[in-house]
């Protein structure tokens, strides 16, 4: 893809811009679809039908919502910090969008094929914390402040289990570059990292299985916390903190918060998919594999997890802030240490 753009444009800056466009277009389209999906899934879980009037089964409702948000008055609290207030949502979106740069959508397309791909994603998405703190502080609202404090504590705590779980996958595939991680899982779903990876013997696989599956589930749990979804949606706990850090936001800025939340949902799903479920690899070995099928498989797997996140959100209640910390530091992290040790031990044998 990079060569294609190179031949078309020539200028490296234009090539970079062109390379950056596909994820952005994807995020925008995906957000529209997911907003619709979320409302419909939630409604059907709750014996409702959700919107039915805008188009067939209300498919145009996300568009209408978006138009409404664009038209809305943009209110900035007079006693807040104006610059930080305006900057915060864009910083949050930037963190998420930057993460998409290293996601290999297909064997032929990855925004930037950096060697430390996973590490880069973890680092880039950490910027989100700064944005959250800024928005909470700049709003000059006590509920927002509490919400942003919670989210900062939560995101920092859950970074650790996320990184440790990533480490398990990296140990099994031997690379931090996501393209190489995915290539190491070639040859059918039994070679995915979640089933032990492609480079180990069958006996090793049997012993690895409980640890890889545990790491994968923990990665998924931690990613729920990373994107502030139920049961870890404390920063925006409606019943406690009104709306958390984005209480004071309206109009387009609010829409950007929403957009980055949805984009983040896909990002963490895509990372989990790339590391543990073969990324763009087809589950049937070489069949249905290739640059275009790659996009299909990655988006399919990613959307599967997005739907799972939605399902969990509308089922479970919310944890309390101390229980959240307990889960991270005293349950998930020690379990992952055991996993890492066990995986290393089995690999050495």
């Amino acid at each position: 893809m990079e060569q294609l753009f190179q031949s078309l444009a020539g200028n490296p800056i234009v090539v970079s811009v062109l390379l950056a466009l596909p994820p952005l277009i994807f995020i925008l389209l995906y957000a529209l679809v997911t907003v619709y999906l979320e409302m419909k899934i939630a409604a059907h879980m709750q014996d409702r039908v959700a919107y039915m009037r805008t188009g067939w089964h209300g498919v145009l409702q996300p568009v209408a919502d978006m138009l409404k948000l664009i038209q809305k008055e943009d209110i900035i609290p007079s006693s807040g910090d104006k610059i930080l207030f305006i900057l915060a949502p864009y910083l949050i979106f930037m963190g998420t969008y930057a993460g998409f740069a290293a996601i290999p959508f297909s064997p032929a397309y990855v925004g930037s094929n950096v060697n430390l791909g996973v590490f880069y994603i973890v680092a880039a998405t950490s910027i989100v914390v700064v944005g959250l703190l800024m928005s909470g502080w700049a709003s000059n609202n006590k509920w927002s402040l509490l919400g942003s404090m919670r989210s900062a504590a939560q995101l920092v705590s859950y970074e650790l289990p996320t990184i440790l779980a990533i480490l398990v996958a990296v140990m099994l595939t031997g690379s931090l570059n996501l393209q190489e991680v995915i290539q190491a899982q070639a040859g059918g779903f039994w070679n995915w990292t979640v089933f032990g990876g492609g480079s180990v013997s069958v006996v090793q696989k049997i012993f690895l299985l409980p640890f890889t599956i545990t790491s994968f589930l923990i990665l998924f749990t931690a990613s729920l916390a990373e994107v502030n979804r139920t049961p870890f949606d404390l920063p925006e706990a409606e019943s406690e903190l009104v709306q958390g850090y984005n209480t004071e936001y309206s109009g387009m800025k609010f829409a950007i918060f929403y957009l980055s939340e949805y984009a983040n949902m896909f990002l963490v799903s895509a990372v989990a998919t790339c590391l543990f479920l073969g990324g763009w690899q087809s589950p049937f070995g070489e069949a249905l594999n290739g640059p275009f099928w790659g996009v299909f498989w990655l988006v399919l797997k990613g959307m599967g997890f997005v739907v799972l996140q939605i399902w969990i959100r509308w089922t479970l209640p919310r944890l309390r802030v101390d229980q959240l910390m307990y889960t991270s530091w005293k349950v998930l992290t020690p379990m992952l240490f055991v996993c890492i040790f066990a995986v290393g031990f089995i690999l050495v044998l």
Binding site: Q46, L316, P317, R320
Partner: protein, 395 residues
């Protein structure tokens, strides 16, 4: 404005105890936050002034009165005792039938009249249906307080069926004006008994479904067990009643202990909290008491529907009610607890004084005792578990 109070002993972190190597205290200031009147989880227009140290609630001061509508003064200025009933409807707007009955019963006792047996059964059926509807709202909104949205809509789906029953009986879905002094406004419609039986059959499995989704959810139990424990003595001292008091393990239900209606003719059991998931009197206990009371209400309704006799639905009372001068206090068990009406008559056609003793008011007043030292999220759970309706607190 804020009284200085001694910090509770189970304070989670004690910044005051932490000192740096140079001996400087690390104690930081508390922050005062207004929770409400426009807050999603204050169940109406309650304003809680909370003093927090980080996430920990140091003190809670409830401010009420945002929904004050002068019920008692209005009642004095009616030209007829019957005219007070629509106002009683609007006190606890999610349990109007129970309010109507409380007021009507008080006037009937003042008049020293007996209502026909059919009326007694109709009233029991209506009051218990209303109790289920009210508890459904309480449980559903409590689910929202805990971050679970789906149970709330399931509750409303089931409540809708009860409202349909009320609608076919008296035309209204929320404020009924159905139970009148001396009887009820209409007889039950033709298919009511059948439909109500259908509802009971429909509703019983739904309770189990609700329990599976929310009540026995691990996260929900973690959030509610051992939180907001109301000790028996504090509960009694603050005159708590209803599920709030029963949640603390006190076996006290006016339907059985100060009987009215035909509650003695049907079989049912008073439900109390037993501390199954944590301590007796915690939020989970108050929650499960309401769930089990719904099961008991279904039992009562089923028996009452089977036993309901034929007959008049209005006792022979004069068109203009003119009780002898005197006073009376009558208490009934509303879904929230002891709902009392104290009526003074001076022999004219309108009451001289009506005082409503609202259970939600007493239940709310205990919050600052049990919420100190908990976290903000727990405070939301505690407020939700007290099941207040601000219309009744303020009247």
């Amino acid at each position: 404005m804020i009284e200085s109070k001694v910090l509770p002993t189970d304070y989670v972190t004690k910044p005051a105890d932490l000192v740096t190597s140079t001996g400087r205290s690390l104690r930081t200031d508390e922050m005062i936050i207004n929770m409400g009147p426009q807050h999603p989880s204050t169940h109406g227009v309650l304003r809680l002034e909370i003093v927090v140290d980080g996430e920990i609630v140091v003190d809670v001061i409830p401010h009420i009165g945002y929904l004050h509508r002068c019920f008692e003064k209005h009642a004095e200025h009616m030209t007829n005792y019957q005219q007070v009933i629509p106002y009683a409807d609007r006190m606890d707007y999610v349990a109007s039938m129970n309010n109507d009955w409380g007021y009507a019963l008080a006037v009937e006792r003042l008049l020293k009249i007996q209502v026909p047996p059919r009326v007694e059964y109709i009233r029991v059926i209506m009051a218990e249906l209303q109790r289920i509807a009210s508890h459904l709202i309480a449980l559903g909104t409590f689910g929202i307080d805990m971050g679970a949205f789906t149970p709330f809509l399931w509750c409303f789906r089931d409540r809708e069926r009860i409202l349909d029953l009320f609608e076919m009986t008296c035309g209204a879905r929320l404020l009924y004006n159905y139970i009148w002094v001396g009887g009820v406004s209409h007889d039950l419609p033709a298919k009511f008994v059948e439909r109500a039986k259908d509802f009971c059959a429909y509703f019983k499995p739904k309770i189990k479904e609700f329990n599976d989704l929310l009540t026995y959810n691990e996260i929900f139990i973690k959030r509610t067990a051992n939180v907001g424990v109301l000790p028996r003595d504090i509960g009694i001292n603050y005159a708590c009643s209803g599920p709030m008091l029963r949640g603390s393990g006190i076996d006290w239900d006016l339907r059985r202990d100060d009987p009215y209606g035909v509650y003695n003719d049907v079989e049912w059991e008073v439900q109390i909290g037993r501390g199954e998931m944590g301590t007796v009197g915690d939020v989970w206990d108050r929650f499960i008491v309401k769930v089990r009371e719904m099961e008991q209400s279904v039992r009562i309704i089923e028996q009452a529907l089977a036993k309901i006799p034929d007959g008049n639905v209005q006792a022979a009372i004069p068109k203009r009610i003119r009780p002898d001068a005197g006073e009376i206090y009558v208490r009934t068990e509303s879904p929230r607890g002891e709902l009392g009406f104290y009526i003074i008559s001076d022999g004219t056609t309108s009451p001289y004084r009506v005082k409503a003793r609202s259970p939600a008011f007493a239940n709310l007043s205990v919050i600052h005792e049990i919420a100190r030292g908990c976290m903000i999220a727990d405070l939301v759970a505690i407020v939700g578990s007290t099941d207040i309706v601000l219309g009744e607190v303020d009247r």
